[in-house]
Amino acid sequence: MTKTIINFSNVSKKYGKNEIISDLNFTVNEGEFVTVLGSSGSGKTTTLKMINGLEKPTSGKIIVDTHELDKCDLVELRRHIGYVVQSVGLFPHMTIADNIAVTPKLLGWDKEKIDRTVDQLLDLVSLKSEEYKNRYPGQLSGGQQQRVGLARALSTNPPLLILDEPFSALDAIIRQNLQQEIKALHQKLENKTFFFVTHDINEALYLGDRVMIMNHGKIEQFDKPEKIVANPATDYVKKLIATVRQNKKLWEEFK
Amino acid sequence: MIEYWQENSTQMMQLMIEHARMVLTALLIALVVAVLLVIFFIRKDNWMNSLVYFFSLLYSVPSYAFFALLIPITGLGEWTAIIVLAFYSEYVILRNFITGIREVDPAYIEVAKGVGMTQTQTLLKVQLPQALPAIFSGLQITLASAMAIATIASTISAGGLGDLLFEGLQTGQVVPILWGTILTICLTLVGIIIIKLIENIMISDWYDVQKG
């Protein structure tokens, strides 16, 4: 029996008269790697921010890990949802170790446990703990910073990670490395759910167990990547798939 | 209040004129010196930075102390006050001048070189016009603080509206203090409005267009 970890029912979000999200319904199961694909303004980031309560829905119900969002303690809930953003958001005035330890410290862990966790996590994201833990974010490259961002999101061993275009500011080679690593990481860490927002169709199809394609605040299709490619549900999805094919044709012409 | 005005209006007008003359002379001197310094040192960043730092040190000297320290050198009176005010203004004007010029997009300077302008032409035709908004905002700030500091010049017999404040202090009356304050504020506001007007004339349409 698969367990539901995120459930949106009839969720909509308005800023004044502007409807960003209209009547959103979906379910994410425990352990899934879900990617959300959409252009800017599609509502994908707003959807992600509603999962940890940074944005509140205008109407509808959101359930995360059995907690109903408008009825639970958000501060407590957020400590058990990992969060990674495109701009990394490492605090510039804290060392790498302190950045990773933010939530553990809030939870009052003892120093020894925190130190051990920091070492383990840096190891997990392939950074040498001894070398990096006492540096400041400004002294790391963009790719290294995003690895630390990932380590920080995993600090309390949360069942759910939400990632908002974590790799889009990185250059192509580093991005590809990190994509491979995060996929391996998801397989290694059993039963962790990843909710990963991106505007890169290749990234979405490569990483996702299921891909949610959003446009103008609505879900166009939410299915396994191979099914999306085989049976695009709407014109929008067809056009998206066509862009990839177009690129592929270009590559073949070069050969 | 009104009675006091009726009795002393000629003297008060006189003080206002003194006050305005002091501040305006100081501002003009500071502006001319700033232009000269910028022309001479524009391409010597280190010199420029040290100059600004030097004026920032002078700027932090309390005005009352500054006035007093100049007395052994330049004596009492209006000119000592003008010198002090000019030094204070120099810092703000020069600083804004330089930030304004340095913030001009290097691409424009490249283009200017590309179309064959000399360095002086680049400064006058490309950098200065774009730095004008910053320069004018510096003038406004410095006008307000010079007007305020000029009241202190009364202590070194330089006249101005500070005389009214001290008269009130010595005779224990509020009315002259109020008048001194109000007239200083009025002078400041008039000055700011004039600077705004000049700015509007000098900064022609391109700036408004750019701002949208």
């Binding site: 605090f91 510039p92 | 000297v61 102390a65 007093a68 304050t181």
Partner: protein, 214 residues
């Protein structure tokens, strides 16, 4: 002149230190009180547009009122001495403190607040661990400007009977004894310079790790 200055210190160093102490005490109290008032207001101003707009207007208004006038105008109401001087200095120190505190909190990138919340901080923890440390260089700059203003205006406080180093200048001018004027003026200038350097040092320390991050 030099010999007269030396003579003054030989005969009246006690008097000098009284003035210095008065000056420092007045300036320091004014700074602390104005910080207690300005920092919370500045924080509110960074979160609320109306508070911010009000603070801006208030600061602009205060900037065109001469500090001398502000010092004198209270006398008819509460007399002379330490308290009226203190009140005036506090009022004079508020604008740079409030404006720079608002600026500092506004300069903290939105992402950091969102990440802080997402990592499970409550509003107080967010302020203490993230917003305040990141806004600190700006706040310190505000304190620096306020301190320079306070020390300068405290020199004038002698006119309303609050003593301080200005008294030396005042007496010197009255009796035309230049050694008094020079001693007073140089002391005040040094006081101002030292506090400026001290604040610059603190600012550099506070922003050490903030570079190349955004």
């Amino acid at each position: 002149m030099l010999s007269e200055i030396i003579k003054y210190f030989q005969t009246s160093s006690g008097e000098y230190f009284t003035y210095l102490e008065q000056h420092l005490w007045l300036s320091f109290s004014a700074l602390i009180i104005s910080m207690i008032i300005a920092l919370p207001i500045g924080y509110l101003g960074s979160r609320n547009k109306f508070v911010a707009a009000f603070c801006q207007t208030f600061s602009q208004l205060l900037r065109i009122i001469p500090s001398l006038a502000l010092l004198f105008i209270l006398i008819p109401f509460i007399g002379t001495g330490f308290i009226p001087a203190l009140i005036s200095l506090v009022v004079l120190a508020l604008p740079p403190l409030i404006v720079n505190t608002i600026l500092g909190f506004n300069e903290v990138p939105q992402t950091f607040s969102e990440v802080g919340l997402s990592l499970g901080m409550n509003q107080f923890q967010l302020l203490k661990q993230i917003s305040f440390p990141l806004a600190l260089p700006y706040i310190l700059n505000g304190i620096k400007l306020a301190l320079v203003e306070i020390i300068a205006s405290a020199t004038l406080a002698t006119y309303i009977g609050a003593g301080g180093l200005g008294t030396l200048i005042f007496t010197g001018l009255g009796l035309y004894k230049m050694q008094y004027v020079v001693i007073g003026a140089v002391s005040v200038a040094l006081l101002s310079l030292i506090s400026m350097w001290l604040m610059d040092f603190l600012i550099r320390k506070a922003e050490k790790h903030d570079k190349n991050n955004y």
